[in-house]
């Protein structure tokens, strides 16, 4: 019996939303740390968080200023923001509900529990005092779900759609983090900030929990070209762009009617492997990232057309 398109789509979105909640939590965590580290004159602020997630439009519609409280409320608890932590988890839960026969019962309970907790305790994530614990709880909760699925769900087509959803979401978030963080750097790049350049690149890595792995793999000091190379091209780091594409590719191989998407995916892999990040000036980098995001969104559309919106 082949899998229903709707079920495949629900699995896919459930995975994307869980991944999104985790990434958002990481992003907030690292931004909080960065702001504490940098001198006031660096003036990084909370606005980049909104830019990274591409939610400027909804934000300005409902909020007047980019102050810490507003941004955090928007990113954590606001259900009008589908990318907020609580919003993503609510979405994940609604998708999970309809596929309870596909996912292990324990996983459904974890998703349900994580959503309820994230909502109940949202206030403690907005205020600084317990923010770290709250966000760490979200990250841990999302990782538990991912681990549980890897360890207990049958690795059939459903699991393939799960991995595809998770990795496309991850790929997207990685490009967003690089884009906005590195954008900041250029604008703030004047003499007396140089000592902090290193800190900002570290923050890019840390948003992706990539700092330690970067050190182990690259073994040089944190520098722009190396960071970019690592985050775009590293085959073995789970949050590197190229790696996520390889994950999608390996799951896609199990699916029927995969030729067209496989070609799109391989084209995108080639683009990433061929680029030399060191030669990309800030504007080129921004354009390059735009291209990647466009291609990702085309791949998502292709999945949707081939598998989720099956027509005659």
């Amino acid at each position: 019996m082949s899998m229903l398109s709707r079920v495949a789509e629900n699995v896919y979105w459930m995975a994307r939303c869980i991944e999104r909640s985790e990434n958002t939590a990481r992003l907030i965590n690292v931004t909080t740390n960065l702001i504490l580290d940098l001198p006031r004159s660096a003036n990084v602020g909370w606005e980049p968080l909104i830019e990274i997630t591409g939610s400027d439009e909804i934000f300005t519609e409902h909020y007047d200023s980019y102050d810490e409280k507003s941004v955090l409320r928007f990113m954590i608890a606001d259900l009008q923001n589908p990318g907020s932590i609580v919003g993503s988890l609510q979405n994940a839960r609604e998708n999970a509900r309809t596929i309870r026969d596909i996912i292990p019962r324990e996983t459904w309970e974890r998703i349900n529990d994580l959503f309820i907790r994230s909502k109940k305790q949202a206030q403690s994530g907005i205020a600084r005092k317990h923010r770290y614990d709250y966000l760490q709880g979200i990250i841990l909760g999302a990782q538990t779900i991912t681990g549980q699925l890897a360890g207990t769900m049958i690795h059939d087509e459903g699991y393939d759609f799960l991995r595809i959803g998770r990795n496309l979401e991850r790929a997207d978030m990685t490009t967003r983090i690089i884009d906005v963080r590195s954008g900041d750097l250029l604008e703030n790049e004047h003499e007396n900030l140089t000592p902090y350049e290193n800190i900002q690149w570290m923050s890019v890595l840390k948003s992706l929990t990539a700092y330690q792995m970067y050190r182990r793999t690259i073994q040089v000091r944190v520098r722009r070209p190396d960071v970019l190379k690592f985050l775009f091209k590293e085959r073995n780091f789970p949050r590197a762009f190229y790696h996520t594409l390889c994950e999608v590719e390996s799951s896609l191989a199990h699916l029927p009617r995969n030729k067209g998407i496989k070609k799109q995916l391989n084209d995108l892999q080639k683009i990433v492997l061929d680029v030399d990040p060191a030669t990309l000036k800030q504007n080129d980098l921004h354009e390059f990232i735009d291209t990647l995001q466009l291609k990702l969104s085309e791949i998502h559309t292709a999945f949707s057309e081939v598998y989720f919106r099956t027509q005659a």
């Binding site: 398109s5 709707r6 029927p256 009617r257 027509q311």
Partner: protein, 484 residues
């Protein structure tokens, strides 16, 4: 020794297990002895074990709340089973088969020549007012002339012990999954009781259901595609839809998963492409089935489904329009319907109903209004009803006027007192009112579940057994006392 049957009060009602204080019915004797021997602590343990089993098996029904979206709640379950002697059950089973057979002939006749109307055994004007008569179904001939493939009839027992049919559910009857799960729970919690008794099994319902559905396939192929069509997760019976689909190995689909092409073939959308569907066990009401044929605003249905069904390219169970026979007023004609089509007297009686459209019956109603329940023909949910014994003189007089002004809109029934069965309240037993819903499958052969779903009103004195209003359920045992 906590449960003392000697102090259990039957109160002049019919109790399913206890004939009189301290005197269990024959079939209930071993059960009563078993419970009598239990200590408080053991009762607590059994209750906890049953609750755990229910939780683990995920038996839930859905309650919708604004705050959290929809949530699943466990449905209260009483561990004392309701017991029926197989000798009585055999008769009930024959009666249900007779009834459903006649109802199917009736529905088929209504959508074709309407002989029963022409022969004046059934008033044709009732069809005009029927909210469940579908003119879209006129002239359609489903396989074997069967319209109501799955029927759930509610049985109640009055204080003199007579079992009546209170209503027939011919559209999308629900509850069978609870019947199945209740048995699973009991077998897990009281394995030793099952050794003492010869209890007839209910577990083969899903496979009987599957066989009956597969038989309807328009394509004569070895493995026709059978699907369960659900309105989705917000429906209160979603648990059952998903449970039955799993048990049958059928796909659980929503309207948006299905697609009808211009050749009237139904497909489901899968990741491999479109895949043909042969039989749909639909758990969506008629009016939401197909926006092309019925409600154009329905988001639940499948455009073109009625076309496909009429063209014989897909089977629907139950057939659209089958609900015409579970109308309140039509119900009162079922004895005549059985007589007309089968030439037999009904084996299980209807609750006696007086139709005010007939002068003699109307006079009786007016004279005895203080003893009767008066119901308007086209209302449901207890609206516009008069409960004679509890009504004031003014209310009764008002109803006499209403009846005289519009006699064909009213019918009346005597007030029944539902039978009771011992139910755990804390660690003691008290009588609680209950009903019984057996399920009847009609295909090339007709099968009746061995027992059915017993619903019990958990509030003292209440006769409302609905899950949404403080009802619970019990396992139902048909026991063969003659088995070796």
């Amino acid at each position: 020794m906590t449960i003392r049957w000697g102090s259990y009060k039957v109160n002049g009602l019919y109790d399913e297990l206890i004939r009189a204080a301290g005197k269990p019915r024959d079939a209930a004797k071993p059960l009563c002895e078993y419970f009598h021997a239990l200590k408080d602590k053991e009762i607590e343990e059994y209750k906890a074990a049953a609750e755990l089993a229910i939780h683990v098996m995920g038996v839930t029904f859905t309650v919708y709340t604004e705050e959290e979206g929809s949530i699943d709640r466990a449905w209260p379950f009483d561990i004392i089973p309701r017991i029926l002697d197989k000798r009585e059950w055999d008769e009930i089973e024959r009666g249900l088969i007779q009834r459903v057979h006649a109802l199917n002939l009736f529905i088929d006749d209504l959508y074709h020549k309407q002989k029963i109307v022409k022969d004046k055994a059934f008033p044709g004007e009732l069809l005009k007012d029927s909210v469940n008569f579908r003119k879209q179904c006129i002239g359609v001939s489903p396989p074997k002339g069967i319209w109501a493939h799955i029927c759930g009839s509610d049985l109640v027992r009055d204080k003199d012990g007579t079992m009546y049919v209170l209503e027939d559910n011919l559209r999308v009857p629900s509850g069978v999954s609870y019947m199945l799960e209740n048995r699973m729970v009991m077998k897990r919690v009281f394995p030793d009781l099952f050794e003492d008794y010869s209890i007839l099994p209910v577990d083969d319902y899903p496979s009987q259901l599957y066989d009956m559905l597969a038989e309807l396939s328009p394509r004569q192929i070895e493995k026709p595609e059978v699907v369960v069509l659900t309105p989705g997760i917000y429906n209160s019976a979603y648990f059952e839809h998903s449970y039955l689909a799993q048990q049958m190995g059928a796909e659980l689909v929503q309207g948006s998963d299905l697609f009808v092409d211009e050749k009237d073939i139904v497909y489901m959308r899968t990741i491999e492409g479109l895949s043909r569907v042969d039989v749909i066990y639909r758990r969506i009401d008629d009016l939401f089935l197909d926006p092309e044929a019925f409600d154009p605003d329905s988001m639940l249905g499948v455009p073109g489904l009625m076309r496909a069904w009429k063209a014989g390219k897909v089977a629907l169970a139950n057939a659209p329009g089958a609900g015409v026979a579970d109308d309140k007023v039509v119900y009162s004609y079922v004895p005549e319907i059985i007589k007309y089509y089968l030439g037999e007297d009904p084996i299980i009686p209807n609750v006696p109903s007086y139709r005010c459209i007939n002068k003699e019956e109307r006079d009786y109603v007016i004279q005895n209004i203080d003893k009767l329940v008066v119901k308007p023909a086209n209302e449901s949910g207890g609206y516009g009803m008069l409960i004679g014994p509890q009504a004031s003189r003014e209310e009764r007089e008002k109803f006499v006027k209403l009846i005289k002004n519009d006699p064909r809109n009213y019918m009346a029934q005597p007030l029944l007192t539902l039978s009771t069965a011992p139910t755990l309240v804390g660690n003691r037993v008290e009588p609680r009112h209950l009903d019984l819903r057996p399920f009847i499958l009609s295909g090339s052969k007709t099968t009746v579940t061995l027992g059915g779903l017993t619903r019990v009103a958990l509030r003292k004195g209440s006769t409302v057994v609905n899950s949404s209003q403080g009802g619970g359920s019990k396992d139902t045992w048909i026991v063969d006392m003659e088995a070796p």
